[in-house]
Point group: C2
Chain length 594, copies 2
């Protein structure tokens, strides 16, 4: 009875069209020939893999969970076999650079792959996602010897990687981590401390696990400026790449969580484990940010994926379930009807699908900008970096928050059956709930947006995005059918401009506490308007494509944009007063009176 | 580490003040002396019971769940002992009429009792809640012999009761239930069929279980007009009230659910079980509505309770958890700070607490109106009935939808710990998710509102409520501090008036499909504005009380009203375009394209 996943290939390919992806990627030397003919077969192959290998073990992973037994973590039935197929087929490394053995495909493409694989089985995909983080960390910041020693097996998936940041007293704030790294005469360090929230910190999928660990070298500066990053393998790696002894890296427990049961969240104990410094001492947090930024964009992708899966479940159920006669239909008209013909169920599905499209455009665009940031040259690289900077906190927080709401709506379509675990729909809801939390809580994303991002390049980065929104509105006005929508969008763009201006002024006045308090409503407002921007672009693209064969598909896309802009976008305005009021009233009540 | 529940007695007592409860109740003959001195000791006693007996087994119930084993349902550890104390103390029957052995207290008071008990342990309270439904069904519609036979033990809690409506093919739509009731020569019936979603259909808490079962007598009219209601006891009751043989009433399985694990949701099989007709044949659905209406108001109470528990957890955690320095504070200022001093955490707690107050006023008022409907005379009775009619779908749907969102916000305050089941906060989120579904899904509440409720008494019922909102706005204007708030509220009341007028016109034109499509956004908009109305009333009450001792408390209440009206109420406007657009675009996409 679980959801029968079919990757929405047409929607995915259309997203690349909306975002003008091929032109963007072709400006990068190594992607100059990238086109639909490169994309399509990979997406199709990925869909096949996700549907056939990962989706069937999604609810098995949820039901059985990863099992902790005296230091050993046993993954759910079927996960080991699937992992072997997964790495063999190269899905773990498809977007990693080819010079380290990866597929060398753009990040822009990995957005679709992430969506598809993760919709099929989010808990499964989280582990390999963390490996990518560790690989990036090593590839960007480690020395050649370290790269040679660790990357080949990590990229091949023979080993997996993790990120070790949090400690019990140190989660969102890393300034007071207490894990210690003591330098030895041979240049290695001994790592001692406890780390928490370590995704796939221990498991039985691979021969070795390479932990990237943040720790403090005694005598280093206080706070975040004294954090260093170390490679700490579970089994020490010999010079010939064979595995040596166990490195006193122990998983002492795993968390019992609301969701993602197939992904073990470990408490790790390092007890004088041998660690190898990456780069220089005290630069750990900077290094970590490379991988954290990617993790944030991926977290948005997780929200997108849960929503996509939930929509498939809800629409399948709504087509099958017969119950009552839709209001306004005669008995005769209603004889083949199911609950999908009830207006309220329709509204629910339209809401989920419209948002899903907006999420997809936003998340994919963010990935594309990562390609520009990493692989383009000159101004284009700068542009990519700035745009990626703006988009990342919005992608992460807006999408992940919404995904909780939309998976909840999908449960509602099932009625009572939605509350029963057997149907599988509640799993999306439980799995989705992690995305607003990890890779920096959504509150932290809001702080990042208002303090670090709207001020990028003296405010010119956000200005450029707002200008692009205006340009898009002009394009919409060239099409008669989109004129009324362009006017609605225009009003909301004006409002987000006003809010942005207000925050920049308050920042210049030094009103930090006020701006901090405006963070979340501003991010939500920005996300809602940015979603409208992408839906406007989608409507323009679909309108241009209407003359092609597939008019039904493009008309649907125009309808979804219309629905978003007319019915969902107005939510943006409801945040305006909260942005402008800042911290007013927030502190009028004593902490003890809540 | 679970949430340490303390009933918010001051907030609860203030709610009765805001709603002018004593004056309202005193207009009913049997409650003419009811006052704070009656209320306060009961609320305090109830709080003590909830905190000491029910709260400690809340997470035990969640973790262990009810266990099904070959027809037997074993309740979680501690539930049986707690149930004995619960019935002995009279909490199960406190609001039931005294002539049948109940406490004879107003429904208005049971609102507080429901909130307190249910916050402490929702899964536990659901069973006795269903008994109350069965008792009401029997008390209102059964004959004296049946009342004498079943009510004393039901009211005393020696037996429990259930409601059997749904069948696999028949959930929201009861017209095609297939359970059969065949009349016997002795005047009894034989009941055969399968019923699903039967809360507490089987358990080990009481000696007997009295099921109220909807079934069809062969030859009765088609659809809902051919439904009859039967008493079907698990053990047949002899004339001397002793228990006879097992009545072939079997629980064949229980559901594995997202939440409320301590409340068994049973599939019941009736296999020629002896049933006793209540009232007349074919009147079953009418009888059921008595109990369903109360169940809807209670479902709103469940949402309120989950939110209240979640706020307590989140605010406790936020006061204890130290992490980072709040933006804008110096190191010195921040030395005793915890995350509750971070603006974004504050905003979250303010949002939850403001909504919680609005929910409480709304739910309590709905209960008070039930007292007028049942126990007042003449015009006042009519008024109670109409007002109750309008409030019930809004109370049920607006509160329960919000409770999912607000318990999710509470999880967010905990960060990673919110996703770990050990902290107990996720339980509120999972438990809350049922309330939008049961007692008629929230989509059905919206249909009820737009088709049956705004048309009550030719639209005069809703007009009277809108007029009361206007009167309240005038009261606000008498207080200088509330003048700006009154203006915001006024704009939103005007908008809901416009939306209401629009729907009434469309109904008169026969645009049923369009009105149906407007249902949910209209209900959400109405709920948001009605919440603003109550918060306005609260601000007036608090302003008047400011001269009393407890100025800090009343200032907090004014702040919460201000926060609601300035920052949460604007959400209402975002639904306006959806209401006015009705079904436009909803059917432009083919069912198979979702």
């Amino acid at each position: 009875m679980a959801v029968n996943y079919k990757a929405p290939i047409n929607d995915i390919i259309f997203a690349y069209d909306v975002l003008d992806s091929y032109n963007i990627l072709n400006k990068i030397e190594k992607f100059k020939d990238f086109g639909l003919d490169t994309l399509e077969p990979i997406v199709e192959e990925c869909a096949k893999f996700a549907e056939e290998v990962l989706a069937p073990i999604n609810s098995i992973g949820d039901k059985n969970g990863a099992i902790f037994d005296e230091g050993i973590v046993k993954m759910p039935p079927g996960f080991k076999e699937a992992y072997e197929k997964f790495t063999k087929a190269g899905w773990s490394s498809i977007s990693l650079p080819s010079d380290i053995g990866g597929g060398g495909l753009p990040y822009g493409l990995s957005a679709a792959i992430l969506e598809i694989l993760c919709t099929a089985n989010m808990a499964f995909v989280l582990g390999p996602g963390l490996s990518i983080g560790a690989i990036s960390g090593i590839n960007f910041h480690a020395n050649q010897g370290q790269k040679d020693m660790y990357l080949p097996d990590l990229v091949a998936g023979n080993w997996t990687g993790t990120m070790n940041l949090s400690e019990p007293q140190s989660g969102s704030d890393l300034s007071n981590i207490s894990t210690k790294a003591t330098k030895q005469d041979d240049g290695t360090y001994r790592i001692t401390g406890t780390k928490i929230w370590i995704g796939s910190g221990e498991h039985d999928l691979s021969e070795n696990i390479i932990h990237l660990v943040l720790a403090k070298v005694p005598g280093s500066p206080e706070g975040t400026k004294g954090i260093s990053m170390f490679i700490v393998p579970k089994f020490v790696v010999n010079d010939d790449s064979s595995l040596g002894g166990h490195n006193k890296v122990n998983c002492i427990s795993i968390e019992e969580k609301l969701g993602i049961h197939g992904s073990p969240t470990c408490v790790m104990e390092y007890d004088g484990s041998v660690g190898y410094l990456i780069g220089e001492e005290n630069m750990g947090l900077n290094y970590m940010f490379t991988t954290i930024n990617e993790a944030r964009i991926r977290a948005g992708g997780h929200g997108l994926a849960c929503t996509s899966g939930a929509l498939q479940g809800a629409s399948q159920y709504a087509r099958d379930r017969v119950q009552g006669r839709p209001v306004g239909m005669t008995k005769e008209e209603a004889k083949d009807s199911s609950i999908i013909d009830h207006a309220d169920v329709r509204r629910t599905l339209m809401t989920i699908k419209s948002y899903l499209d907006a999420m997809r455009y936003m998340n994919y665009d963010n990935h594309l900008m990562l390609d520009l940031e990493y692989f383009a040259e000159g101004e284009l690289k700068d542009f990519g970096k700035e745009r990626c900077g703006i988009l990342t906190p919005i992608t992460k927080a807006w999408i992940s928050d919404l995904s909780v709401e939309l998976t909840s709506m999908a449960i509602q379509v099932y009625g009572g059956m939605g509350y029963v675990e057997e149907t599988g729909i509640a799993q999306y809801f439980r799995d989705a709930r992690i995305a607003p939390i990890y890779a920096g809580t959504n509150g932290i994303q809001a702080e990042d947006l208002v303090f670090r991002k709207i001020t990028l390049n003296d405010g010119k980065a956000v200005e450029s995005l707002l200008k692009e929104m205006r340009t898009n509105i002009s394009s919409m006005k060239e099409h008669e059918n989109l004129e009324p929508l362009s006017e609605i969008l225009e009003r909301h763009v004006a409002e987000i401009e006003e809010a942005t201006q207000y925050l920049l002024i308050e920042l210049s006045k030094g009103n930090l506490a006020g701006v901090s308090a405006s963070g979340t409503p501003y991010l939500k407002m920005f996300g809602q308007v940015l979603g409208g921007h992408y839906m406007g672009k989608a409507a323009v693209t679909a309108t241009k494509n209407l003359l092609e064969d597939n008019a039904g598909f493009y008309n649907d896309k125009i309808t979804l944009s219309k629905f978003y802009i007319e019915q969902l976008l107005p939510l943006a305005s409801s945040y305006f007063s909260s942005v402008m009021l800042g911290k007013e009233n927030l502190y009028s009540i004593d902490s003890n009176s809540f």
